[in-house]
Amino acid sequence: MREIPDLLVIGAGLSGLMAAYEAAEAGLRVKVIAKGLGSMHWSAGTVDVLGYAAGDKAVSMPLQELEGLQAVAPHHPYVVAGAEAVTEALSRFVALAKELGLPYEGAEEPGRNLWLPSPVGAARPVYLAPQGQRYGDLALAEPIVVVGFEGLRDFYPWVIAENLRKQGHRARGTVLPFALLSERRDANTVQLAQELDELKRVVTLARALKEVVEPGERVGLPALVGLDRHGRAMEVLQEELGTRVFEIPTLPPSVPGMRLYRALRSDLEGRGVEVEIGMEAVGYEAKEENGGFRRLLWVETATSARPLKHRARAFLLATGGLLGGGFDSNHEGRVWERVFDLPLAMPQNREDWFRPKFLDPAGHPVFQGGVSVDREFRPVSPEGKRLFANLWAAGNGLRDCDGIRERSREGIAIVTGIAAARSILVALRREKHVH
């Protein structure tokens, strides 16, 4: 009989994939299942670790903020993981990204946040940026020309430039004809990026850019400079123009996020990790074990007919929270975790879910609740008791964090994904399941 996997990861977002990577690296047999593709396709493709702390305080050194975090959010995933694990996970990611040929970089001064232009020209706090976005760094002195494309509905260079100027940066906007990108009338950023995988098109674009870029300016483009051949496209542009070129993220679908997803996934598949998308976990089977634990035997996914069983030794829940689809909620004010019905630390009353202002700096309570875990990233009951002998949880579905508000989504995903995988490794070794 075929060997069952050591680890079944549920969820193919950044946390799930990072966990799968960490586990596979250590020699575990790993399988990833997910209902669909996730939030990497919506994000900026940067690694945001912590941009705003309590009271909407702008953070410049995220890792130094962790202590403060402990005081206000003792269950915050960073606190659970511990400062050392946070630092280490992030460097692990940097190393991996480099290996994938998709290097990520931080600020000149180690540990400092970069501030990069957002699609409306606000300054985004970013800990690690893909190389393609790195030179948007607002600490750099060169003036910026933001170049858009006539009629491209997901990118507006003039707004970006105007807001950058208001914040004291030298910036201007301009547009080039859309036809430089594509002959199509209707194309999204991913399709346009694919057009720029063609070298000829990149060269033509470079020529057109030359006409509008003034000496000394760096060039900000919408993040669609190639999908599979992004690195080459950026090189060609910089070479032809003799200046720095950087990308500014756009509305979803996120090309930078998709690049990372594809690179990660194919790396995993290269390591023998099976990644199955389109499989929604709908149930599980567990047996009582001495010690009062329950041990998961398998997780079931929906198929066109009968449920399909996925056995494994260890299971990692990385389905995200409300956004990732890990939780659902109803008009009676209930929020629940969808696979194991894990208890959630979350207001179970609709009146307590929101604050009156959308942009309230304190955020909305319903976006801040989630699964409670112990130091090993195993889900626990409200009393702190472990629920399953072989279940772990990671990602933005964990409690006491607000990845969107804090600008910490990717940081949380990477840190908890890796931390959970390590904890799984230790546990499986202890059980001598791994040889």
């Binding site: 593709l37 199509r184 979803p252 099976e274 198929t303």
Partner: protein, 422 residues
């Protein structure tokens, strides 16, 4: 005409959060402006369609190939491909069915006719003049990879002829062969039968209808409903006796399990019974394997085999069972393609206006096959029309993985496509 109900398809549009993931992955939208993409054609446009509307507001939805890449990647569970299929049905209900689609939708009827005089039919169908005519008159692209009628007789006649040689056993399994196996590729059925027998099962082949998929994908829901009802009538008694029903066509099994009930809103008990009894042959074999019941007396098959998991597996949501089992064969270097779709998508690529789109979609797959090196002699895919498209796009022969498995058991000649005499 479909009825709107709370079951599955229609209301699933409410799940959409407009995130554009589907549109980023749709292989058709990637190659043509004629199709505005899954989000647009599916959950978005659906809000502008209604029962009894003056006329169908949009036609571009007809360019959806039904490959279901969108369903797979959608994080919220919108049944996009099905929404599109229903919108097409509404168009068809209004505008009538072009003769071409009527023809393509009637695999079974065509098969029956063709099998009366297969050589003549092949000659008639496959010469240049008639293909040009077919394109001009009915809109079937002249280059499209139309199948050839089996000139060795149908699968049914083989079963009859070899009745004496067939295994008798207490363990029985029902085989749903589908039209393609019956009339065009009886060898796939033969390979399936010898494999099932190798596992010790007696194979029952009851009378059966076309599953109705070609009709569903051409929007002829009324006729499809009659086919499905026919199958319920013929197959449910077996399900009720506890037999499992395996099929070698991923699209037929999908239709029996899910497509027909969902698209036709047939959620009755019988449909449910049938659904739970039906298995794709590799899904079923994998289950045997997991139970430790699959013989592994494979002979080495030293070759590189590019394998394309067909789109229908995506809808089955059972993973890639054929790839899992082929990987057990010693010497066989299975290269699983990551291409999204071969482009044929059932009968899609046959249509004049869609032929090129189909080929452009398939380019990813053809390229993948080329990348596997010059020593590649054949490819594999579970779905018949995909195999024909693969052959058309790569110039290499293509096999059903069940043929490969049968060959690995030493029961089948992969080159000549026939069982080895025992």
């Amino acid at each position: 005409m479909f009825t709107e109900s709370w079951q599955s398809v229609g209301p699933s549009l409410d799940e959409c959060i407009k995130c554009n993931i589907c549109t980023a992955y749709c292989p058709v939208a990637a190659v043509t402006d004629r199709f505005p993409g899954p989000k647009y054609a599916g959950p978005q446009a659906q809000r502008f369609r209604e029962n009894g509307q003056p006329h169908a507001p949009d036609r571009s939805v007809d360019y959806c190939s039904g490959c279901r890449v969108c369903n797979e990647v959608c994080p919220t569970g919108v049944k996009i491909a099905e929404l599109n299929a229903r919108a097409r049905a509404q168009m068809v209900a209004e505008q009538g069915i072009p003769l071409r689609n009527r023809l393509l939708g009637r695999n079974e009827l065509l098969g029956k006719l063709g099998s009366l005089a297969p050589r003549l039919a092949n000659l008639g169908l496959h010469n240049h003049v008639s293909r040009v005519m077919a394109e001009k008159v009915v809109g079937i692209a002249r280059e499209a990879p139309l199948p050839r009628f089996s000139e060795e007789g149908t699968f049914g006649s083989w079963m009859k002829r070899t009745a004496g040689e067939r295994l008798r056993s207490d363990r029985k399994v029902v085989y749903f062969h589908g039209c393609a196996t019956m009339y065009y590729e009886p060898f796939v059925g033969k390979a399936t039968v010898v494999v099932l027998e190798h596992l010790g099962y007696e194979v029952i082949v009851p009378p059966q209808n076309c599953c109705g998929l070609p009709l569903l994908s051409n929007g002829e829901f009324g006729a499809a409903r009659r086919y499905h009802e026919g199958n319920l009538h013929k197959l449910v008694p077996y399900a009720q006796q506890g037999y499992e029903i395996v099929g070698s066509s991923t699209s037929c099994t999908l239709t029996l399990k899910e497509e027909a009930p969902e698209l036709l809103d047939m959620f009755d008990e019988e449909s449910e019974e049938l659904k739970l009894a039906v298995w794709d042959v590799f899904e079923w074999l994998r289950e045997r394997y997991r139970q430790g019941e699959l013989p592994t007396d494979f002979k080495p098959l030293p070759m590189v085999l590019p394998y394309h998991p067909p789109c229908q597996y995506r809808a089955h949501r059972v993973g890639r069972p054929a790839a899992e089992l082929l990987a057990l064969i010693p010497g066989l270097d299975v290269r699983v393609s990551t291409a999204r779709c071969c482009g044929i998508a059932g009968t899609y690529g046959y249509k004049r206006e869609k032929y090129q789109i189909g080929m452009d979609v398939g380019a990813e797959l053809f390229e993948f096959v080329r990348e596997q090196g010059r020593e590649v002699r054949m490819t594999a895919c579970d779905s018949e029309t995909c195999r024909w498209q693969l052959e058309h796009g790569t110039g290499l022969p293509s096999r059903h993985p069940i043929e490969v498995l049968a060959a690995a058991y030493g029961l089948y000649d992969l080159e000549r496509r026939e069982p080895r005499g025992v």
